[in-house]
Symmetry: C2
C-alpha cells in the first residue's frame, strides 16, 4: 500500500468512531484532527469534503460491524441454526465501532437530509436484508425451513426488532431488550420456521 493510501485508510479508521458517536453535524473538525493527529489540510488532502470522509467512515464502520456479525457463520450448515447464530452475534458482538450500530445511527442521522450518507445507509440495509433472505431461501431449498416462509417479512422482523433493541440498550445501558428480542426470535424460528427433521431432504 502506498503511503498516501495508508494515511487515507488511517484517517477513515480513526474518524469512524467519531462520526458513529457524535453524528455528522456533531463530529467537529477539531475532533477529527485530534483523533488523526493531522491538521485540516492533512485530512482534506485525502477527501473532497466532510461528507466524503463521513461516507467512507460509515462504509468502514459498517464493514467491521458486518464482519463481527457474520463471524463463524460459515461453520454452521443448518440454515435455522445459522440465523440463530447471526442473531446471537448481533446481541453479543456489539461495540466493534464505539457508538452503537452504524446503520441505526446513520439512518436516524440522515433520514431528513444528507443524501450521500443516506444512500450508504440504504445500501447497508439492503445488503443485510439480502443476506438474511438468502439464508432463508437456502433453508427452504434444503427443506430446513417451511416452504411458505416469507423471507422478506422475516428479515424485516429480525432487523427491526434487533435495531430497536439496540436503541433501548444504548439508552438504558442494559441488555434486557436485546435478550428479550433474541429469545423471542429464537423461539419463533424454532416453532414457526424450522421444518421437523422427518421432512428434511435426506440427500
Amino acid at each position: 500500500m502506498r503511503k498516501g493510501e495508508h494515511t487515507r485508510q488511517e484517517i477513515i479508521r480513526k474518524a469512524a468512531p467519531i462520526f458513529n458517536q457524535r453524528g455528522y453535524d456533531g463530529a467537529a473538525l477539531s475532533d477529527l484532527m485530534r483523533a488523526t493527529g493531522l491538521e485540516k489540510g492533512g485530512i482534506y488532502r485525502h477527501f473532497s469534503s466532510k461528507q466524503a470522509l463521513a461516507a467512507e467512515a460509515f462504509d468502514y464502520a459498517w464493514q467491521q460491524t458486518v464482519n463481527a456479525r457474520i463471524q463463524d457463520l460459515d461453520t454452521i450448515s443448518n440454515t435455522v441454526d445459522r440465523l440463530k447464530k447471526l442473531i446471537a452475534n448481533f446481541v453479543e458482538r456489539r461495540g466493534i465501532i464505539p457508538g452503537g450500530c452504524p446503520l441505526l445511527n446513520t439512518a436516524i442521522d440522515t433520514d431528513d437530509g444528507n443524501s450521500v450518507l443516506r444512500e450508504r445507509a440504504c445500501k447497508a440495509l439492503r445488503g443485510w436484508r439480502s443476506h438474511l433472505t438468502s439464508i432463508v431461501s437456502a433453508g427452504i431449498k434444503a427443506r430446513e425451513i417451511r416452504p411458505k416462509t416469507d423471507a422478506k417479512k422475516l428479515a424485516a422482523l429480525i432487523i427491526s426488532s434487533l435495531e430497536g433493541a439496540v436503541m433501548v440498550y444504548r439508552l438504558e445501558r442494559n441488555e434486557e431488550a436485546l435478550r428479550a428480542v433474541q429469545s423471542h426470535l429464537e423461539r419463533y424460528l424454532e416453532t414457526e420456521l424450522r421444518l421437523p427433521a422427518k421432512n428434511q431432504n435426506k440427500n
Copy 2:
C-alpha cells in the same frame, strides 16, 4: 395564559420539529429564529440554554406522539385488543411531529452525551414501557391474557420491533417493515397471549 407563557409555548411548538428532524447539533440558531420569527434574544429570554429549549421541545414532541398513539384506546375494554390498537396507532399515526419518532431520534442523538436530553428520553421510554406492562397486568388480572406472560419482556419486544421498523421506514420511505412487524405482533398476541374465552373471568 400570560403573554410570556404563550410565547414560550409557541417557541417550544415551533422548535420541536426542527430538533426532531435535525438533531441537537444540527438544529442551528438560524433555523430556530426562522421557525419562531424571533431574534436570538427573543428566544433565549424564555430558555436558559439551547439544551433547556431542546429538552422542552422533546417533552412536547413526545407528548404529542403519545397522544396520537393512545387515541381511542380507552374505548376498547379487552386488553389484547387494546394492545393491538396501540400497535396499529403506532404504525398508522406517524408524522405527528415531522422527523419520525422523537424517542428514537433523541435516544440515538444523545446516547453518547447530552445528559439532560438523554434523561428525558429515558423517562419517555420508561413511561411507554410502563403503559404497556400495565395493560398486560390488567389483562392477566381480567383473565384475558395468559397468567405466565412476562409483561416486561413483551413490552421490550413491542417497543424494540416497532422502533426498529420506524428506522427502516424512515430510511426506505415505505411501510413494509412496519407492516411486517405489526402482523407478526398481532399474530403473536392472538396465539401466545390471548386466553381463550372459556378461561376468561365471567364476573
